[in-house]
Symmetry: C2
DNA sequence: TCATGTGAAGACATTCACAGCA
DNA sequence: TGCTGTGAATGTCTTCACATGA
């Protein structure tokens, strides 16, 4: 696979979400300008991003929405379904589970984990919750490659170690702590406190500027 | 205020979090190298970032942890406490409320909002929940400048409009939809579906590479 | 005419590498 | 010696601007 920048992938995912949200799919072609407006980016940016997915407007003016959607999905998704596990059944864990479940056919949350015995060995909305000790066996058996860490900060590193040990290739970390994981494993941090602090900072800036 | 890049602010916030997590504060100086390691960045990056906050290692070798923490906080925080509102008391709304509450003295969640009458006119852990119609009056009265959108995608734009109309200067959007808001209002998107898709994509890449 | 695709410029971010200092 | 602070180099991302095509 050709290598793509982080920023580009984020936008490609955004373009796809925009197209998915157009129901029914418009029969009119969509222009780089219109997509750009919907995505809050520059039109040249859209065209440059679309270059990497190898979809070309078929000598037509603009892009054919269905074909573009197909091309985006082909690029963004793996051939097989990606197995995902959520560790920590708190508010964040539940939120992710609810948001992702059934919304993306190529992403499947196949297991939940929690330290609290009250929460484990149950089935939530079609997905089973396991004890932390079962991480290695379940991750392997269910071919899970993405782990989501939604446990308290103090437990996060230990959970990350176990996930990596069990073979996940990427971690999405919601705990407010910097994880240290081996080279080659993808890590994305989404700490909510940091997010609020950042918005607070730039809100102040915009106030000062006028 | 000097203008700082998004990336730099994110790292400054991270450095502060790292220092805050060291309790008790170490009496030894901390070096750019050690902070870099903890933050998963390059040492030169740390030094360059610290340049912008105007803290200098006082002709000492390394940085004095307490002084650095103070300098970081002075830069990151406003003088006054920043008022925050959370709209949408679902899993995400609750998660943010719980995470932020009491953890950052300069960030105060002053109001919750929800469309469901069952959830409003109650006090959750010291913070009152209001109906959506009360956004304008409450935002103004409580001097709220940051709004967090944790409602379903279909409602998000309408909520954003009301928040902006009421005077907030920044929005943190957890809904999986692109908001359109006036120039000058800061917007940060944190959609969870996009996050999982991104991690899934790069996990696959790392697998292929080896 | 009007939109795409893209070379080239420009803006921005990271890293190197070293002078200077204690 | 071993650190910081920073000029300069490098690397990455965004935007301009225009040739090309229908």
């Amino acid at each position: 696979m050709t290598d793509v920048s982080m920023k580009t992938i984020e936008r490609l995912i955004l373009y796809r979400r925009i197209l998915l949200s157009m129901t029914p799919a418009p029969s009119e072609p969509i222009y780089s300008h219109s997509l750009a407006k919907l995505a809050n980016v520059n039109a040249a940016q859209v065209r440059r991003d679309l270059m990497v997915i190898g979809y070309s407007g078929t000598s037509i003016r603009g892009y054919e929405p269905n074909a573009l959607l197909r091309a985006l999905s082909e690029f963004i998704d793996a051939d097989e379904v990606t197995g995902v596990a959520v560790v920590g059944i708190g508010d964040i864990g539940r939120a992710i589970f609810q948001y992702v479940k059934g919304r993306r056919p190529k992403l499947q949350i196949r297991a939940l984990f929690d330290i609290d015995p009250e929460k484990t060995d149950k089935i939530y909305d079609g997905c089973r919750a396991y004890a932390i000790d079962e991480i290695p066996s379940v991750i392997r058996k269910k071919q899970i490659t993405v782990g989501i860490v939604s446990v308290p900060a103090t437990a996060a590193q230990e959970i990350a170690n176990r996930l990596v040990g069990a073979g996940v290739r990427g971690i999405l970390n919601y705990a407010p702590v910097q994880l240290h994981i081996p080279e080659g494993i993808f890590l994305e941090n989404r700490d909510m406190i940091t997010a609020v602090e950042k918005v607070a900072f730039f809100s102040r800036q915009s106030t000062l500027k006028g």
